[in-house]
């Protein structure tokens, strides 16, 4: 467990010092959210109705921007070799990396989401609900993305292949995440429970897929 924490703290320190990955994701998110109204025209009622969908889609696209670097740097500088023979099983290495992605990419995106909602004329009382769906759903997103990053590790142009591979897997998260805000009776509680189940399943299952891919990438 201490090796897990050591790896997680190192990755958080690196992400904070680098700053560019967090900055790129935040910038992309805010720009995507602010140019969509330009394309849709000044219909405030329409904007506020589709705001949850726009925010979720922009969030997902922003979150995958930096994910290809998740293992790539460690592989290129030889750290992955040294990590792999350490005391931590590959599954936990993958879990630590995915968790670091969630903490350094998804959490900052969640934090600026109320501001992004304001740009889309989102109803104020829907904002806490949206934040809840994001907080519950995006943990699973990071773990799916982690497995995808491990699978495309070492491929030329893996960064381009990666979104093709993982964005379709985000579909159920998107459906339940937006469904929770449809306003239908009971929709919120049902959808958020399903979203939580999806997220937990990803957290439990994806590290195994990622570990397999990581071991293959060392050959």
């Amino acid at each position: 467990m201490n090796a897990f924490l050591a790896l997680l703290t190192r990755d958080l320190t690196l992400a904070l010092r680098q700053g560019s990955a967090i900055g790129t994701a935040l910038g992309f998110y805010l720009i995507a959210v602010s140019i969509i109204p330009l394309g849709l025209g000044p219909d405030l009622a329409l904007l506020s109705r589709i705001a949850p969908g726009i925010l979720w889609i922009s969030f997902l696209l922003s979150a995958v921007l930096s994910v290809d670097a998740l293992f790539q740097e460690d592989r290129d500088d030889g750290s992955l070799d040294a990590l792999a023979i350490g005391p931590l099983p590959s599954e936990l290495i993958a879990a630590s990396k995915s968790l670091a992605h969630w903490l350094t990419t998804c959490v900052p995106l969640i934090v600026v989401t109320p501001l992004a909602g304001l740009l889309l004329n989102m109803e104020l009382n829907a904002v806490p609900k949206l934040l809840a769906t994001l907080a519950v759903g995006t943990l699973g997103i990071s773990f799916v993305a982690g497995a995808g990053a491990a699978l495309t590790l070492g491929l030329r142009r893996g960064a381009l292949l990666l979104p093709l591979l993982i964005l379709p897997l985000f579909a159920p998260f998107l459906i339940f995440g937006v469904g929770a805000l449809s306003g239908a009776a009971g929709a919120f509680s049902q959808s958020i429970l399903l979203l939580g189940a999806l997220s937990l399943f990803s957290v439990a299952a994806m590290p195994f897929a990622a570990a397999l891919a990581l071991r293959l990438s060392l050959e």
Binding site: N2, A6, R10, D77, I85, P87, L218, E219
Partner: protein
């Protein structure tokens, strides 16, 4: 140091489906080093990576005997390859402390500092690793060996980009490791002064013989 010997039993190593090292057998006892020599492409890296467990062996096996019996050696290896495993944005001491904490699971500031001291990097401890020269970066990579104790060192061309004084420091570190009952497998083109603790294994494309 709990490992008493490392043996290869008819170990055939493959890379990309091509057999690079066919049916090699050797045994290294605790306190001894095996120096791997051979031309480029003779399979030195492949052999070391197979022993470390990164590459599956084509046939045969690696047997590491420790106080619990025979195993594959998982958890006993340090591997230093062509890359150093250091992060340019962390300071020198942060780099070595990370590996110390990761391998041993506990903070030991003394171990990290001693490891830097052994490779003459203590003066640069607060310096960003990204600003180090090639040779200094290599020394920082090697400092990982000393920051946490592991019995079997697998070193692939460890002396690359080291100057004469640093190579002496590397020799001292390896000799000290052997004296404590450790094992080292080193591929190198240089003559490392390890005295009679070292045996040389010549790898020639497809064959191996003791020199």
């Amino acid at each position: 140091m709990p490992v008493s010997s490392l043996a290869a039993l008819k170990l055939a190593c493959q890379r990309g489906g091509r057999i690079v090292v066919p049916a090699l057998s050797f045994k290294v006892e605790a306190g001894r080093a095996l120096i791997l020599r051979g031309p480029n492409g003779a399979g030195k890296t492949t052999l070391l990576r197979t022993i470390a467990g990164y590459l599956p062996a084509d046939s045969g096996r690696v047997i590491v005997s420790d106080d619990k019996g025979e195993g594959t050696g998982e958890g006993h290896f340090h591997y230093i390859g062509h890359t150093n495993g250091i992060k340019p944005r962390l300071s020198v001491i942060e780099n070595v402390s990370f590996w110390q904490r990761f391998y041993s699971g506990a903070d030991d500031a003394d171990a990290a500092e001693n490891a830097l001291d052994a490779f003459a990097l203590l003066d640069l401890a607060e310096y960003r690793a990204g600003h180090l020269s090639q040779g200094q970066a290599r020394r920082l990579g090697l400092a990982r060996l000393l920051a946490s104790k592991r019995s079997v060192w697998l070193l692939d061309e460890p002396s690359v980009s080291l100057d004469a004084a640093s190579t002496r420091r590397l020799e001292t570190a390896i000799r000290h490791h052997l004296a404590q009952g450790g094992i080292a497998l080193v591929s190198t083109h240089l003559d490392l002064a390890l005295g009679d603790a070292a045996t040389v294994l010549e790898l020639q494309h497809g064959r191996a013989f003791a020199a």
